[in-house]
Symmetry: C2
Subunit: 71 residues, 2 copies
Amino acid sequence: MSEAFSVPYFKENFQQYIERNKDVFTKTHAMNAYYRSIVGTLINDNLNKNSEIVRRIRNLEKAYNEVKNQN
Amino acid sequence: MSEAFSVPYFKENFQQYIERNKDVFTKTHAMNAYYRSIVGTLINDNLNKNSEIVRRIRNLEKAYNEVKNQN
């Protein structure tokens, strides 16, 4: 299993979310919904420093772009 | 006009984005697409401190929730 909040971790999660919702959401819509829900969670986490929150969101964004460009 | 990156600013932008895309996106899909695009932009802004980036994303999240719950 990938390290939590790493790029591979978010990629796996995007792929699972797309797969689970494929009957109701297009790939892009599923990805945008997952992205919004994760950012909402990350920024409400008061245990972490802002630098760590920004690092995690950057990993999420990178994973988003990598999964989006996959066939 | 609202102060840039404030909650009212993001609310206005969500509403404009929903309106402009209403023929192709549902309200939720438009909001998620806009949200993703703004977060992607905010975190790639190296001019701002992490605390300012997190503050802006929190405003975006708050605006999202307020617009989402409007009829």
